[in-house]
């Protein structure tokens, strides 16, 4: 949990706004450090977290969360965290063994991308709604949170952008509107923004669709002036829908630097290396 980012976003572990769809995106950069921030934040806020990890193993998140002061193994044991290891699941689908015939894995989309993400959504629905009810001796957890690291890898596996947008829309309807929880999704882009993509598929379309869907977006980019050792990039924070304060969007731009145990955010030009 990065304290400076909490003060920028006006979130604290004891005061979480509910029903938010937070989009973390990056362009030619790496925004995965923000996913670690949100994971530790929501675990500290005692929410029920469902984490779909599609690109890294459990040990990676566990090691980083240890440095941020949260133990994932403990949270998993207590039932606060449900962790889907996408890599392991998809391996059993990609290399079909003779034994598992009838089991429908949540990532069976890898076997046949044309089928879509229905099985993944059903997994999310089952885990988010049912966990926390009917468990004897279970502690009371807060509203559910769905974290997805990295939605755009589904495009690399052959799923079309439309199906991925449908999946995120269904998740938003279920978690944000119905259950008053939060959703955090990471998507990554690679090209320059000015490139005109002839085809409608691809990460650009996914990014545009998700930006329209979200209520808070954090867009990470490299510095426009080039590579710098002390400033790793810039984050553009955009509040899309504010409740009660008027409907207009608010945008803010910060620069950041990622350390071993966190990240520091500062206004443009006020890096400690410069001042």
């Amino acid at each position: 949990m990065f304290t400076e980012l909490n003060s920028i976003l006006n979130i604290a572990p004891d005061s979480i706004t509910q029903g938010e769809f937070i989009l973390v995106s990056d362009r030619q950069s790496d925004a995965s450090f923000l996913i670690h921030h949100f994971l530790s934040l929501f675990l500290r806020a005692r929410c029920r977290v469902l984490f779909l990890s599609l690109v890294q193993s459990f040990n990676h998140y566990s090691a980083v969360s240890q440095r941020l002061g949260v133990s994932l193994a403990q949270a998993k044991e207590k039932g606060q965290l449900v962790f889907l290891e996408g890599l392991k699941e998809s391996l059993s689908v990609l290399i079909p063994q003779e034994t598992d015939a009838a089991t429908l894995s949540p990532l069976s989309v890898v076997r046949d991308p044309a089928v879509g993400l229905r099985s993944l959504y059903e997994f999310v629905q089952f885990r988010v709604s049912s966990s926390g009810e009917g468990r004897t001796g279970a502690e009371e957890w807060g509203p559910p949170v769905l974290l997805v690291d990295d939605l755009s890898v589904l495009l690399s596996l052959g799923v079309c952008a439309g199906a991925t947008l449908d999946f995120s829309h269904y998740c938003r309807a279920l978690v944000c509107s119905q259950l008053q929880g939060n959703v955090v999704m990471l998507t990554r882009c690679d090209g320059d923004q000015e490139e005109d993509e002839g085809n409608n598929e691809g990460p650009e379309r996914l990014l545009k669709g998700l930006t329209h869907l979200c209520s808070l977006s954090l867009h990470v980019q490299g510095l426009p002036t080039g590579f710098c050792r002390d400033i790793h990039g810039q984050v553009e924070v955009c509040w899309r829908r504010r409740r009660g304060n008027g409907q207009h969007m608010q945008k803010k731009l910060f620069q950041y630097k990622v350390h071993d145990k966190g990240a520091s955010f500062f206004a443009r030009g006020t890096s400690s290396a410069v001042l």
């Binding site: 998809s90 391996l91 991308p113 596996l157 090209g191 490139e195």
Partner: protein, 412 residues
């Protein structure tokens, strides 16, 4: 590097304990010690050498076990193939197991071209000679008058001692001896030997990639490279994935039909490697891939990525700026596994040179000194003209024309 001192109080799983004191920190996970690997000083991950010591330095000390290194091939596939051979040769010297796959050349041919390691000694032959020479050896040892302290040390080290080092040097002009090469167990995958079978799934992956992935998983399971029970590391070298010989049209069209075959395979490879003690080097002919976004997603699915750009055949070969080098090297991606921040190399202008005993990667200073010498030559030409003008211009005796012309030329 001073960070571990401040965290000495916290018993975290990733911290190493150096055996300099009797105090041993209790670590929850046992550190596996396998010859040819060492733990990283940054996050305790197990690293292996790529065979090129300067590349190890760029990647943060070595290649982490469980990750993939993507090499974007240069135009004629000469230097990327060389790095692949270095990687496999390092595996032979460290006694790891090898897995080589290729579609174009037979993997046996690649294995026969491995460079010969430069060992510290002539160890392979002397154990036979030493008993016979013992009487002469005594006399020669007694004859040590100056270096008499070294009399009692053994004459040669064995080959095993040299393999406990991390990173070795190779002599490119010689190939590895067959008896050294045969000490390492090697698995092969040659695509023409695996006829295309109809796959039961409709996945985006092609049959050729499916067969390769299945073969890799079989080797990992049968030879026991799973994390819980393994005592050795598997080095996987995949040559020229994505080329048309795999049945992939990634390199042929702007909008390939099988656009997701290679990325699905790389996803499966990542899943395999994360759960086993194996490390992979993949070369891809990226100069044939037109779609930049696709290249970006391929890069993101691999953990480390470098690109080689050789000067052969281009106009840069004769450019005096680059006369010391064979090509440029771009580091596209460095992973940050088990930690938040990644350590990109400080310099972006890197150039490589393949010497006989070393593949060296250096920072290429983009010729400011060369620029200066070029402009100085221009200076002398202009100043020569100014002299001529001055000589015609007898009314202006001041020589301030000439220096002014100098300074104008100097501003760049």
């Amino acid at each position: 590097m001073a960070a571990p001192m401040s965290d000495a109080a916290k018993p975290s799983a990733e911290r190493l304990s150096f055996n300099t004191t009797s105090f041993q920190k209790k670590t929850r996970t046992k550190l596996i010690s396998i010859p040819g690997s060492r733990p990283s000083v940054q996050n305790g991950q197990l690293l292996v050498s790529t065979g090129v010591t300067s590349l190890d330095y760029l990647l943060g000390g070595g290649l982490a076990v469980g990750t993939v290194l993507l090499i974007e091939e240069d135009r004629y596939d000469s230097y990327s193939r060389m790095i692949l051979k270095y990687f496999l040769a390092e595996g032979v010297v460290c006694q790891h197991e090898l897995f080589v796959s290729a579609a174009q050349d037979n993997p046996d041919d690649i294995l026969q071209e491995l460079p010969a390691p430069i060992l510290d000694d002539v160890a392979v032959h002397t154990p036979v000679e030493q008993p016979r020479l013992s009487c002469e050896a005594q006399e020669s040892l007694d004859a040590m008058k100056i270096a008499w302290r070294y009399q009692n040390l053994p004459k040669v080290q064995s080959a095993l001692a040299s393999s406990s080092r991390f990173g070795h040097y190779y002599d490119v002009s010689k190939t590895m001896e067959p008896d050294i090469r045969q000490t390492a167990k090697c698995h092969r995958f040659y695509l023409p030997e695996h006829p295309a079978q109809a796959s039961p799934t409709h996945s985006a992956m092609l049959e050729s990639y499916s067969a390769l992935l299945k073969s890799l998983q079989e080797v990992i399971c049968k030879e026991g490279f799973g994390i819980s029970k393994s005592r050795n590391i598997l080095r996987i070298g995949l040559h020229s994935l994505g080329s048309a010989l795999w049945g992939d049209d990634l390199c042929c069209y702007d909008n390939p039909k099988n656009g997701h075959a290679l990325t699905t395979f790389l996803y499966g490879l990542r899943a395999l490697l994360r759960s086993s003690l194996a490390v992979a080097v993949v070369t891809v002919p990226s100069h044939l891939i037109q779609d930049r976004a696709l290249m970006g997603s391929i890069t993101r699915l691999c953990d480390n990525a470098i690109a080689l750009e050789s000067f052969k055949g281009s106009e840069r070969e004769t450019n005096p700026l680059y006369k010391d080098y064979h090509g440029l090297l771009h580091v596209r991606q460095v992973p940050h596994l088990n930690c938040l921040a990644n350590k990109l190399p400080d310099h972006k202008d890197l150039a490589f040179k393949l010497k006989r005993k070393q593949f060296s990667i250096e920072v290429c200073f983009r010729g400011y000194s060369a620029h200066l010498s070029f402009l100085h030559k221009q200076n002398t030409v202009f100043s020569g003209c100014a002299l001529l003008l001055n000589s015609h211009n007898t009314h202006s005796p001041n020589n301030t024309h000439q220096p002014r012309l100098h300074t104008e030329n100097c501003t760049f």
